[in-house]
Symmetry: C2
């Protein structure tokens, strides 16, 4: 098993190391060989040093691996001339067609709760964010703005039949898997089909795909109403599928309900490879200080193992993923995970050790 | 004073009538002449009957009035062939250049509270949503999609220097006014300047305009982080200025924190006229049943009076607006406003009467 490792900037380095430590401990526990890590340098600091945002052969080496793990990229102080940030990550999404951005949102016991309603403890949903097109088709990194001059700038929101069909199939398959795991498995298409032709098209394709999944419960919501509903009754939702920009906003919103970005795992999956990363940023103000919560990265590692189990046809990797997820769940339940950002006393290393210990001691 | 009245569809009719009743009572109380109402038929039901979404001379008559009041437009069952809804409202925003969408979000005492933190009772902020361009430049109603075929659709997000400069000036002026009213008056520019050239341009213009307002405290936030922050610490914000689509999402989100869309007033202001409307939809399922909460519409009426006070140079209208705002505030504080949607016993008419009574009895 070969992992391309991009630790990136700021706390990306701290949490990527944590995730790799947990990965190794878990593979060892389940009798699997050690993964081969190919570290690829990339990011804003690397850009400042070299003028390139990723090593010259970095993208090829990432492609050659079974999966890519990314810590975090970007430093607010290092920007392109137009004000946008350094983001080879966006190019990787584009180049590898990582259309399916999977963002689980789950309330862990004893993690901070924002909502007053006790049902908030039941929040357990997945936001599926399309991750290659939508408004991000026109991300500055791709140089596809339609008009750029001193009087106006026009960017493009693009919805294609090809990508959207794959996305919705992925969503329906995911909803079905959730049903088999005892969730309601309801899939909600989140768009703005009332106003935009592009997003009416997004919904139209959802309706085409749904005829192949008569067993999956579905719903529709406009993105503005969905933002409201995530505040009023997030426990009612299971899988949400949406456009790239909307998914970016809604997944941060939903993450905020249940402990914030320090718990926000993310998988970005394409036809041939997958990229796994915590959805949080590089938080340079606390880098290297043993303060970052590594759990989003560690949980992203579990998502990677689940992906590799299918890709490599090795069910032991799925067991390994379960071990990690269970360790996080148990750790919160037994109050053995107390991240600093939740007012606790455990830094990056202590959290990482608690997880590796639990995994190693499990039967 | 001449008001163009578009009651529209569904509960738009109920709440527009409520707002007009309160308006008349308040003007009478403050010794002002009765407003002249010019009712303009428009909306989805009108479209179904006539094939037009607004009366033939409707837009001209709206232009001729001092302000436009709108109930709500749209019926989910009546759509264009591409799946988008009937929305002459979008055309009015465009035609009259109603760039400044003012959406106050305020926690009233005894109104439902979603957040567990007691500071949520202090929420009192304004989202300024640009309302003519951004992604809505390409709303289906404007027929400006770049590509529309069976394989893909491309819509356009447009940011112009002209509109954005006006928007930011409006935002800084608003923040200054808030400062004078005892608020912190901090203005946050909400964008996605790290990723999109268009939104980096939006921020650049913010920075240009800010040099004229050295007294106004400012901040920046990316829209995804802002969605998270509205869940984690909405009490920290005062005025947010943002792109059209982002403002649509964030204002519903924020509205959800403090009682929902039944309290969501809205003003859309251009160089020559303003449109005032509750930000909620037409909720056809409860239309005509005396169930709708008219307070969003009534508070939008207060925003209209404030606007007209300046436009017509008549400070009594500002006093009238204060009377309405005070009546709503007192009503919640004294538990004399108990809307059905908050689990209370008061329908549209009872709420309206409570407000008109309070206004008429005030000294
Ligand atoms: C870093 C940035 C490009 C990225 C995005 O907006 O996609 C981030 O916000 C995320 O959510 O992964
Ligand atoms: C009705 C619709 C066109 C409108 C919008 O999206 O702008 C609505 O959601 C609003 O917020 O006023």
């Amino acid at each position: 098993m070969k992992i391309a490792l991009i630790r990136g900037d700021g706390i990306g380095i701290d949490v990527a190391d944590a995730a790799m430590a947990v990965l190794e401990a878990t593979l060892q526990k389940t009798g699997q060989p050690k993964p081969e890590l190919d570290e690829i340098h990339a990011g804003a600091a690397y850009f400042q040093e070299t003028g390139q945002d990723i090593e010259a052969d970095g993208e090829e080496r990432a492609e050659a691996a079974d999966a890519i793990f990314l810590g975090a990229i970007g430093l607010p102080s290092i920007r392109h001339a137009d004000g946008t940030e350094i983001s080879p990550h966006l190019r990787l999404r584009d180049r590898f067609g990582l259309y399916a951005g999977v963002r689980p949102v789950k309330a862990y016991p004893n993690a901070p709760q924002r909502l007053a309603d006790p049902r908030a403890a039941e929040i357990d949903l997945i936001i599926l964010r399309e991750s290659t097109e939508g408004l991000f088709y026109s991300a500055a990194a791709h140089k596809r703005s339609l008009v750029v001059n001193d009087d106006e700038v026009q960017d493009i929101l693009r919805i294609t039949r090809k990508t959207t069909t794959k996305l919705h199939r992925f969503a329906f398959d995911l909803a079905r898997k959730r049903q088999n795991k005892g969730f309601q498995g309801r899939l909600t298409c989140v768009d703005k089909a009332n106003v935009f032709t592009s997003l009416a098209f997004f919904r139209q394709i959802f309706d085409e795909v749904k005829t192949d999944y008569p067993d999956v419960l579905i719903g529709y919501n406009y993105v503005d109403a969905q933002a409201l509903d995530l505040v009023r009754k997030p426990w009612d939702f299971d899988v949400l599928v949406t456009e790239n920009m909307f998914g970016d906003i809604l997944s941060d919103l939903a993450g905020g309900l249940v402990g914030g970005m320090g718990m926000a795992a993310c998988a970005e999956i394409g036809d041939h490879t997958g990229l796994f990363q915590p959805a949080h940023g590089s938080a340079p103000d606390i880098m290297g200080q043993d303060k970052a919560n590594p759990l989003a990265a560690i949980l992203s590692g579990a998502l990677m193992l689940d992906y590799l189990a299918e890709k490599l046809g090795n069910p032991h990797l799925s067991d390994a993923a379960d071990l990690i997820n269970q360790a996080v769940d148990d750790g919160f339940r037994n109050n053995r995970l107390r991240p600093i950002e939740f007012g606790g006393d455990m830094g990056t290393r202590a959290i990482t050790k608690a997880i590796t210990d639990t995994v190693s001691e499990s039967r």
